[in-house]
């Protein structure tokens, strides 16, 4: 039988809260350290302990990071999903299963590796048997697939840094699993791991962690937040970095953290911070943004800088709290009642999570308006290969904030909301400064910030706000383009779809269709997106949602003559995007479009 090298998917079915996550991360890290292009996806339930959880590891020499279309190697530990998981396997798959679970294993068309995981684990530590069970299957997999001890040990040492007894226990458990496999099986399946030369130094990093670090380097001064999956690790990341990066020798921090009573209060706090002249941010998910709507309108209308990070989960309502989606885009872009329009920046890689983390504050202070960072559960909570973070290439932009009296006195015709420079952005003074005090308000106001219901004042104010945001578009992160010279078909997408796009592209190419890619990274739409669409006969807008939200925005904002060229492919079932589904939908759509 021919071997299949570095091109298969491992699925590990366990129960939540059994400690399988650390074992799975050791497996992932050891493959990564062997130079194998690999990605891991944690499919976890909204639960603390007991419900089913799956960890999917995809090895791909092509660098594909999506979960793949099928499972090749199945690890069965969880009784609750046992039968379903087993039934869904294609013939020829590998099954590593816990014989101590007393569950049936009646498939004869698969490669079966029975392991008394619980007994082996108990023999090592009766007390910690549940935890050790997970490491035992990693040891078995290592032997079957060919993962080196060197890589495993390095991963264990990294995972349990400094905890000598935990390192020892895990290494022994790995050995137990490996020896069991050595003594009991002859390899019959084709799946093999092979070491690859490491060309670039890279490390694993979660998107949320990267956003947090970016915010720290962006000079965040107030983090106000309310815990919500899948964004909590952004806030916890910031809290974790403050002692090292934002605290003086006396142990005093220069970044405040307040866990708010709810998302409304978190929004109010960061608006208060922006009003007082500081850099305030919150991290939340869709339900939190829904609650913040009224405040978002206030920040837009009163022109107060503040930064919101939305780590998108599946909606509507409570939805699927631990699954991924790109469905908050439209809400962010037009958040709050009345006519509004907001700046949204959408990272697609961990490097960008860091970059947009610091940039969001500069954009927000420059334009005196709320800025939304949009990530999602897939990008935010999974580990991605990262080439390292790049230091901000521009100093902090504090915008048109007048801090010195002489500057203020030299200004002619100052008014808090007067467009002195003709760029739509007025100047502001800060509370406590004694300069041009006004009562900020969410009510209509004239250029001096005084309450007004005059038709001209309202009309001009709304027109200036629109103009201000409109002018920002080409100052925001430009789209990333990968263009085919003679491509007739363009694919526009955003965010975490970045991690699946190449596989989709290759699938399309296998059918003879070459497509160009355009990854949108900000709203309002950059002018380069329009020119990309113009260069292609047909453009597909690819999104992980039901309604095609980005497509909707494009259709409304693009010039009429190209609107009919733009087609939507939107699909979401809660899972991270699988390339095959989107590729097939794109093919269908292209066919329809050409008719």
């Amino acid at each position: 039988m021919d071997t299949i090298v570095n091109d298969f998917t491992i699925n590990i079915a366990t129960a939540n809260g059994t400690g399988s996550q650390s074992a799975n991360l050791i497996l992932l890290q050891s493959l990564f350290d062997m130079g194998v292009p690999v990605s891991g996806k944690n499919l976890f339930p909204s639960n603390i302990s007991g419900l089913p959880t799956w960890y999917i590891v995809r090895l791909s020499d092509q660098g594909y990071q999506a979960p793949g279309d099928r499972t090749h190697v199945q690890v069965l530990v969880n009784k609750a999903t046992w039968e379903e998981d087993l039934a869904s396997l294609e013939p020829g798959s590998v099954v590593v299963w816990n014989t101590d679970s007393k569950m049936p294993m009646d498939r004869t068309d698969v490669f079966s590796y029975p392991v008394p995981m619980t007994k082996l684990a108990r023999s090592l530590s009766p007390k910690l048997a549940k935890l050790v069970t997970n490491i035992v299957y990693v040891g078995v997999l290592a032997e079957i697939l060919g993962i080196t001890d060197e890589a495993l040990h390095k991963a264990v040492e990294g995972q349990f840094k400094g905890k000598a007894s935990a390192i020892e226990l895990n290494k022994t458990a790995l050995e137990l699993g490996r020896n069991h496999a050595k003594e009991n099986y002859t390899k019959g399946d084709p799946y093999v791991v092979e070491e690859r030369p490491i060309e670039k130094d890279r490390f694993f990093f979660e998107g949320n962690e990267a956003v947090a670090l970016g915010c720290i380097f962006g000079g965040v001064q107030l983090l106000a937040w309310y815990p919500i999956t899948p964004s909590s690790s952004v806030a916890e990341g910031i809290i974790g970095w403050i002692p090292r990066l934002r605290t003086n020798d006396e142990g005093e921090a220069n970044c405040a953290v307040i866990q708010a009573e709810d998302e409304l209060a978190a929004a109010g706090m960061i608006i208060g911070a922006g009003w007082a002249g500081g850099r305030g941010m919150t991290a939340t998910s869709g339900p939190g943004i829904s609650l913040m709507q009224e405040f978002i309108g206030l920040a837009y209308f009163a022109e107060v800088p503040c930064v919101f990070w939305d780590v998108n989960r599946v909606g509507p309502s409570t939805g699927l709290p631990t699954r991924t989606q790109q469905s908050d885009l439209a809400m962010l872009y037009e958040g709050s009642h009345g006519d509004t329009q907001h700046i949204v920046i959408m990272p697609g890689t961990v490097e960008e999570c860091f970059e947009f983390g610091w940039k969001a504050f500069d954009i927000s202070e420059r334009y005196q308006t709320p800025v939304f960072g949009l990530s999602d559960l897939d990008l935010g909570m999974n580990r991605w290969a990262c080439e390292g973070f790049t230091y901000p290439d521009t100093p902090m932009d504090r915008g048109k904030t007048i801090r010195e009296k002489d500057v203020f006195e030299a200004m002619e015709n100052f008014g808090r909301y007067r467009d002195v420079d003709g760029d739509g952005i007025p100047y502001r003074t800060l509370p406590g400064s004694g300069m041009a005090p006004i009562l900020y308000r969410g009510t209509g106001h004239n250029p001096d910030g005084v309450y007004s219901e005059k038709p001209d004042d309202y009309f001009n104010l709304m027109a200036r706000l629109k103009d201000k945001i409109n002018r920002a578009r080409d100052d925001l992160p430009a789209p990333i383009l990968r263009e085919e010279v003679e491509g007739e078909i363009g694919v526009v997408y955003f965010g975490s779809m970045e991690n699946t796009i190449q596989e989709i592209d290759d699938m399309l190419e296998a059918t003879g269709i070459k497509v160009s890619q355009c990854r949108v990274r900000s709203l309002p739409i950059h002018s380069e997106v329009e020119s990309f669409i113009r260069r292609h006969k047909t453009t597909i807008v690819l999104e992980i949602n039901r309604d095609g939200q980005l497509w909707g925005i494009l259709r409304r904002e693009l010039p009429n003559d190209i609107v009919s060229q733009v087609h939507s492919v939107a699909y979401s079932d809660g899972m991270p995007p699988r390339a095959r589904i989107y590729a097939d939908l794109i093919l269908e759509t292209i066919k329809e479009a050409s008719q």
């Binding site: 001064q221 005093e252 405040a256 109010g268 007082a276 005090p437 309450y451």
Partner: protein, 349 residues
């Protein structure tokens, strides 16, 4: 003929005329209790010698929340959204803890839509003065009952209120609020002393001011009408505020029993006891006084509860002594070397 000498303008301790503490003309109904409170705020800030631009005027939505336009015209202010002034204030405070945050709110703001934010600001012991202009009614929307309306209170039209009111002072005491007082918009002297003391307090100072609505809630059966309060007010004590720049020894000591409470900046609030001696450090006594007043259909006014021992939010946040607003950019953004070092640490992990 000789010219009349110009009348000397009275200045406060920082040489500011009272004029510099005034605001724009009020657009509330003539005779509104809120306007009296605005005047007291002007007097209190002026007499306390606070630089007007170092005050931040905060409010929510409602008749009361419009009043920041009518006082302290040299102060920045923020008329936020309904009931959410505490959170905006908390965020501003995190950035600039050196300003005096003066919040004005109403019973719709504080007892209904924003009761959660009020509770949590109290819980954090946020440094601010929080004045509730309490009239038991929604004025701007033309007279609906608020959550502080008394049972039996009657609108011009419709049924009398049958829902239990919320006593914000009792709530605050139960939450451990560190300064709780009740007053009446018509009691200028007492209210001035209380607001001045609240401005010197480090922590959350709540003053619930009964402020009759002349338009929608001034019928005599309402416990929040002007006539009713005048006739049924039980003053716990006469309060006299002695600012820190006037040493206590130089002040004429009033007759009778009195208690001095020292505030964090060294100023004193002197309570001359005229009823049973009320100890403001005794939460149970304060709650009892409120309960007895409720039973007797009266209002008890004065400083009900005071505790200077609790740390305020500033201490809890563990921040540098400079307000964050004034921290250098070089301290806010870690160095390039630090990022390089971290990148290499990530590689090794």
């Amino acid at each position: 003929m000789s010219e009349k000498p110009a009348r000397a303008i009275k200045l406060n301790v920082i040489n500011e005329p009272k004029e510099n503490y005034k605001g724009g003309p009020s657009s509330l109904c003539p005779g509104c209790g809120h306007d009296q409170i605005s005047n007291v705020i002007i007097t209190a800030a002026w007499e306390n010698g606070i630089e007007p631009h170092r005050i931040a005027k905060m409010s929510g939505i409602g008749c009361s929340s419009k009043t920041p336009a009518y006082y302290l015209g040299q102060s920045h202010g923020f008329n936020t959204v309904h009931g959410r002034m505490p959170s905006v204030t908390t965020g501003a405070y995190a950035i600039n803890k050196d300003l005096l945050y003066l919040g004005v709110s109403g019973d719709g703001d504080s007892a209904s839509i924003g009761i959660g934010q009020l509770i949590h600001a109290i819980r954090r012991n946020m440094d601010m003065v929080y004045i509730i202009e309490n009239n038991g009614v929604y004025g701007l929307t033309k007279g609906q009952y608020s959550a502080t309306a008394d049972i039996g209170s009657k609108k011009k039209k419709g049924k009398p209120n049958e829902t239990q009111p919320i006593d914000l002072c009792a709530l605050a005491i139960n939450l451990g609020c560190t300064f709780v007082a009740r007053s009446f918009s018509g009691s200028k002297k007492q209210l001035t002393s209380l607001i001045k003391a609240a401005m010197s307090h480090k922590g959350f100072a709540l003053i619930d001011v009964i402020s009759p609505c002349v338009t929608f809630n001034n019928n005599d059966e309402s416990m929040r009408s002007y006539g009713y309060v005048k006739d049924n007010e039980v003053t716990l004590h006469m309060a006299d505020y002695i600012p820190h720049f006037e040493p206590v020894t130089e002040v004429e000591i009033p007759e009778g029993h009195f208690t001095d409470i020292t505030l964090h900046d060294g100023s004193t609030i002197r309570l001359e006891t005229i009823s049973d001696s009320h100890d403001p450090s005794d939460a149970m006594a304060a709650l009892t006084a409120l309960h007895q007043a409720e039973v007797g259909k009266k209002h008890v006014t004065g400083l009900l509860y005071f505790d200077s021992s609790k740390p305020s939010l500033a201490e809890d946040l563990g921040l540098v002594s400079t307000p964050l607003l004034d921290v250098d950019a070089s301290d806010l953004r870690p160095s390039e070397d630090m990022l390089k070092q971290m990148n290499s640490e990530f590689l090794g992990r």
